[in-house]
Symmetry: C2
Subunit: 206 residues, 2 copies
DNA sequence: GGGCTAACTGACGCATCAGTCAAACCTTTG
DNA sequence: CAAAGGTTTGACTGATGCGTCAGTTAGCCC
């Protein structure tokens, strides 16, 4: 067996990742406080002892799992965005990638909702949250600036303000989708955001 | 004696209300899952038995407390809005009343975050949530329609779309305030929303 | 083989809480 | 006053789940 010949576990640093992976998915589908160490262990096909071997306590697993999820989503996003050179297209691509369809992206949005609820109550979650949130806003801001350099976006828009508005609008729309507000579907959300981009960045200044 | 001569407890239906009042405040400050029956009892100056006397189980107390909070906030809002006749002013008043300053309104926003997180995970929360959310959007929509009748808002705006956007933007901004995103303060939030209203409903059509 | 260590296991101790219940308390009514 | 019925209490129970720890396995070097 020589640790992992083919796929499966390369045991070492892999175990940690497997635990975090299982954890964030459990958080997404059951909610932060409904995740049990035993559940994590079961999903990983291991014992509760092992989870505690890698992480001192439950809070550590949960907190790191949130980071893990957000980091991976961000990395995936960056990679895919880099391929699109036109800033307008890149922004539309970003919007598209962030639509909470079923599956992966929806689960990641569920993580954000948990994160917000938790950060509101427990200030110790805020620094990490804010770092991630800032990174997202910066992504948007840079695309706007890029677009202004490329001449595809209006020059009189304040990239900072646009980023603030677009992120807020995206979050708000995502909430409506995830909580099942009747009028709001994935399609409506896309339309809403695309319209916003057009109005703020493309349409002629009045 | 004529239940309750002056202030204090008019015991009967009052106890229920007191329990719900204590409960939603605890949810706001500690989070949905961190509220204990014993905490509720302590805040009310009573025993855990009494809480169970009025509510069959913990879930019932929590669910009803959410409703209680939202209902009261809505009633307060309605009363105050009714006094403002000009639709533009009324909308600005609504925005102002919804800014998550410290205290009451901030706590109510904390409730909403908890509600969203919970409704995402547990579908049984959605019907009630959606009813409340629809009520809020309707409030906005009606003010927009009123403004169009009064001639203070542009006639070409779709009230339904504006309500969708404004509620999403409000939620998104509130999240940023509550989680302490650096750029976002109460002032920034107000500015953001007021600008939006101006742009969508007041400024001349392009 | 014999020591050494890292990885892993799962049973157990202990704390926390929701919910129960019998008794105590109070209020009203006959 | 006494009985009845509504309300309140807080000790108790049972379930749940985190974290610990003694013990096991497996790789590795001499």
């Amino acid at each position: 067996m020589t640790t992992g010949t083919k796929a499966e576990p390369r045991s070492d640093e892999d175990r940690r990742a497997r635990i975090l992976d299982a954890t964030w998915q459990l958080i997404a589908e059951r909610g932060f406080h409904a995740v049990r160490i035993a559940d994590i262990a079961k999903v990983c096909g291991t014992s509760t002892g092992t989870v505690h071997y890698y992480f001192p306590g439950k809070n550590d697993v949960l907190a790191e799992a949130l980071k893990y999820c957000v980091d991976r989503a961000f990395a995936r996003q960056s990679t895919q965005l880099r391929a699109v050179h036109n800033a307008h297209e890149r922004l539309l691509k970003l919007i598209d990638m962030q639509l909470p369809r079923v599956g992966q992206v929806r689960d990641e949005w569920a993580i954000w909702l948990q994160y917000w609820a938790e950060a509101t109550i427990r200030p110790e979650f805020r620094p990490a949250h804010n770092e991630y949130y800032a990174r997202w806003q910066e992504t948007v801001r840079r695309i706007v600036q890029r677009g202004q350099r490329q001449g595809v976006f209006r020059a009189d828009a304040d990239p900072h303000v646009v980023a603030l508005r677009l992120t807020a609008l995206t979050d708000g729309a995502a909430i409506q989708v995830l909580t099942g507000v009747p009028g709001m579907t994935i399609g409506t959300m896309r339309e809403l955001l695309v319209d916003f981009v057009h109005q703020e960045l493309v349409a002629d200044a009045s």
